[in-house]
Symmetry: C2
Subunit: 344 residues, 2 copies
């Protein structure tokens, strides 16, 4: 049995109607709403075929059909209108992203909010991958006796400050000296590389200045320890999930919101998209908690280099065309925005 034109039309009708209504779609409904020029009985026959092919399923004997994961997949791959976004949404994105915002973190969290607003789904935005970000420069500023503020500028423009213990014996010049060594040795290296290969090099350099060493070492540790394992993840519109009829079930909500609190889970969700727009549908997802969800994600770049990803999470029954359009456009404008702001 093959997918002919009519089967495709019917499958598309089922998916679209189910996306809109969240109710199983019957043959009669299709005949009425979509003008296919055939009777419900014919549609029933075709639907039986589509069920055999695995694209739709029946929740119970006397209900209409709902798309299976395979059905959604076929829809996304072959039947769907090209991802599109309304000029209204486009406008909003352009206005919102051109509002001058100075810090990357703010841009990111702002993006998460905007994304969830536009899609009515839950948005997940992964900030610059710190492990991959490279060291740019560092400064030490006086803070309190025995402590200093260490300001680290990454190559991607992110700025972080940490309080570090410096012991009692370091003067401002000593600190300056340490910073100089760091800046010379580390510029351009990722923090991962720093940890592995460069640590002992600095160590030996500083050995020459015996009196600095002991305290400098604790600083080094502080730098690397304070650096969290992975990237920061921002969520937006988690509440939107509560509006979806498929989550009118307490246990589902609990396990879902539980997963939301685990950064690791969210990172895994986004990790699929290596490049371009990625769509993961229902059971294609390996994470138990998200088997009833679909994820649309994409990576964004700064100056050509992938530094993070954004995505939306929703019920399997989501408006793929719209969501994909928004995620795609958002990725582009984020990439634009970040690259532009770096050039200035």
């Amino acid at each position: 049995m093959q997918m002919d034109d009519r089967k495709q039309k019917i499958l598309r009708a089922i998916v679209q109607d189910y996306i809109a209504s969240a109710e199983p779609v019957g043959s009669r409904t299709i005949a009425r709403k979509f003008n296919l020029g055939v009777s419900p009985a014919t549609i029933r026959n075709e639907m039986a075929d589509l069920e055999d092919l695995g694209f739709i399923e029946q929740p119970h004997t006397s209900a209409g059909r709902i798309p299976s994961d395979a059905g959604y997949r076929y829809y996304v791959d072959c039947l769907m209108d090209a991802p599109k976004l309304s000029s209204e949404d486009k406008n909003t994105i352009e206005i919102e992203t051109t509002k001058r915002i100075s810090e990357i973190e703010e841009v990111i969290s702002h993006t998460a909010k905007l994304l969830s607003q536009l899609t009515s789904l839950t948005s997940i935005v992964m900030g610059p991958q710190k492990g991959k970000s490279s060291f740019g420069q560092m400064y030490f500023l006086p803070y309190q006796p025995g402590k200093a503020i260490m300001v680290v500028v990454k190559e991607n423009g992110a700025v972080e400050n940490h309080i570090v213990d410096i012991g009692e014996y370091l003067s401002a010049e000593d600190l300056q000296q340490v910073a100089t060594v760091f800046n010379n040795k580390l510029k351009g290296f990722s923090l991962g590389q720093i940890k592995k290969t460069l640590l002992h090099e600095i160590y030996s350099e500083l050995t020459k200045q015996r009196h600095l060493l002991d305290n400098a070492l604790s600083m080094l540790e502080a730098i690397l320890d304070d650096e969290p394992e992975g990237e920061k993840v921002y969520l937006g519109g988690t509440l939107n999930m509560l509006n979806q009829p498929e989550f009118r079930d307490f246990d589902k909500v609990k396990s879902l919101f539980g997963a939301f609190e685990e950064d690791e889970c969210l990172k895994k969700l986004l990790s699929a998209s290596q490049n371009g727009l990625s769509v993961i549908i229902g059971g294609e997802n390996k994470l138990q908690e998200f088997q009833d969800c679909s994820v649309i994600s994409a990576t964004y770049r700064v100056n050509g280099e992938v530094i993070g990803s954004i995505g939306v999470l929703g019920p399997t029954r989501m408006d793929y065309a719209k969501s994909m359009g928004i995620v795609d456009f958002m990725t582009r404008s984020l990439t634009d925005l970040l690259s532009k702001s770096r050039k200035r």
Copy 2:
């Protein structure tokens, strides 16, 4: 009618049993579980009296009784065992809070997590009140052409960095000069005060150095604009609310989680506690969304000055003695920790 000793014992029994079981408490249950030496019938009579006094109520004719807000209030004020915390919890708090953490923000968010863990409730922690925090020092660091990193150290020890536009024309010395003016003029003033009274003073001072003024002004604006209105609020254990039987209701969950996303709401919740330990029970709360909740909160200090508050939010039926014990102790150790770290 007066509260005699037996009435008090019965009321305490009702509150405690209801806290534990979340089920209306019947006369028979009390006679069985609490050895009052009287029969269920007698207890029934007393319960009728307690209901007349407004301390308990019946969800429906043939159910047991549950405490009213007034009942909880009486319990907390007069009947409850002194707020107490297990030596186990005490230990956890002491170990967790003495882990060396350098930045105030980290301490705060860590506190929120710990608090919700120990109480199985939702924790709300309000960070240092920025409006009330005072300016300490500022530095400018080179960033990119036309931009600088502005590092602001508050008097309470918090450090923030912002990227500011400086236009094309400012040299490092110019920046240094501006910073010096700021540091001299502003040290010790709250940001509120800065905005109102000192702005024109600096303005006039900088007027003397004409070439700096235009650009310095935009920086000033950046400083004050970047400063958010209020304090940052941290939530922990919001999921715990889903485990409470009183929130097995979708509309409640939705409005509750909606309120969680509004920082303003949460701030209002905590604002009650001006000093010491404050307990707000059910309807005493003015916010619609939290009428079924109680809030226990307290303020913490750095060097005698109140800089924030912590609290827990739970269903009206919460274990007040335990929660109050934990919040109280936590406040103290937070105060200790922050004050100690400031002295070093």
